[in-house]
Symmetry: none
Subunit: 156 residues, 2 copies
DNA sequence: GAATGGATTGACTTTCTTTGACCAATACAG
DNA sequence: CTGTATTGGTCAAAGAAAGTCAATCCATTC
């Protein structure tokens, strides 16, 4: 069995039905598995990324930690579908607004969230000198990121 | 638990709904927590700064003291201050996250809004090939745009 | 058996915390 | 007034995590 796989399953045993959230110390974990601390980052990057349905936060310095939150849960299936399938590499402003409006209608996001997202992706907010293609790539990424965050809120 | 965090929460228990104001002795507090007196200054600087919604004044010499005042400001006031003065033409990710976290602490934005904003402005979301300066300009614009959107909601 | 791509490691970096040495202001005693 | 004891302030260095990245290793594929 691969080290990365061991670490992955170990973390997943900590993320049971009960707790969708674990907090751990990078160094301790590395010690436990007898590997380089950075190996933990590798596992997080390849198995616990947002694309895999997880969010991570961390803090350095004395008393630092790494927290992992599982976000893929029932209510957020639709949102995850959008993130993984529907939205591609680019997203125009019109498309974004249409999507947001639909999500609001379907009550998958609140009106506040909808207007927050709209203002973040608006042409006005993005008025910096870069090509349109890049703006649309940015929109796509930001949209996915925000939807994941909402999916996280909806977790059971 | 981190020492700084302990000191922070200790002070916050003294700042209840009743009293928006505490007065304490730096040396006594340091003694109580068994740490260097300057540790207190560190906590004040990192957790009780104006950005965090607190003002501090102090006096040296015999009978010296440190006074901490929780400052009350209307939600819109604070948000508009951020939009018009605090946030300039550029905003780094670290700064943005710090600001958002503070706004959440001060309950000027909901935890959902906070995580929505964070994810929109995250490095991950903005991973397209443009210069950092432009990303920071974008962040500033998006942040202001989102804050105004929230201010608008609060007004209604 | 070479090539490819994921896995592993370790050196270096960044961020946050804690401490201590030295500095500055204030009160009080003489 | 002046000197000294009593505070609090500043800053830089050390310490304690976590992050990044490039080099190497290894297993699978062709």
């Amino acid at each position: 069995m691969r080290l990365s796989d061991s670490i992955e399953s170990f973390i997943k045993t900590l993320l049971t039905d009960e707790s969708a959230e674990v907090e751990l110390k990078r160094n301790e974990l590395a010690e436990y598995f007898g590997c380089a601390p950075s190996q933990i980052n590798y596992v997080l990057a390849t198995r616990f990324s947002p694309d895999h349905g997880y969010l991570t936060e961390s803090r350095r310095g004395g008393g630092g930690y790494i927290r992992i939150v599982r976000v893929v849960e029932s209510g957020s299936q639709r949102l995850m579908y959008l993130v993984n399938e529907r939205i591609g590499e680019e997203l125009s402003e019109e498309e974004a607004l249409r999507l947001i409006s639909q999500l609001k209608d379907q009550q998958l996001v609140t009106p506040q969230e909808a207007s927050l997202m709209s203002s973040a992706l608006s042409t006005r907010a993005m008025a910096v000198p870069i090509p349109d293609a890049l703006k649309n790539a940015l929109r796509a990424r930001m949209m996915k990121s925000m939807l994941m965050s909402i999916a996280a809120r909806n977790r059971g």
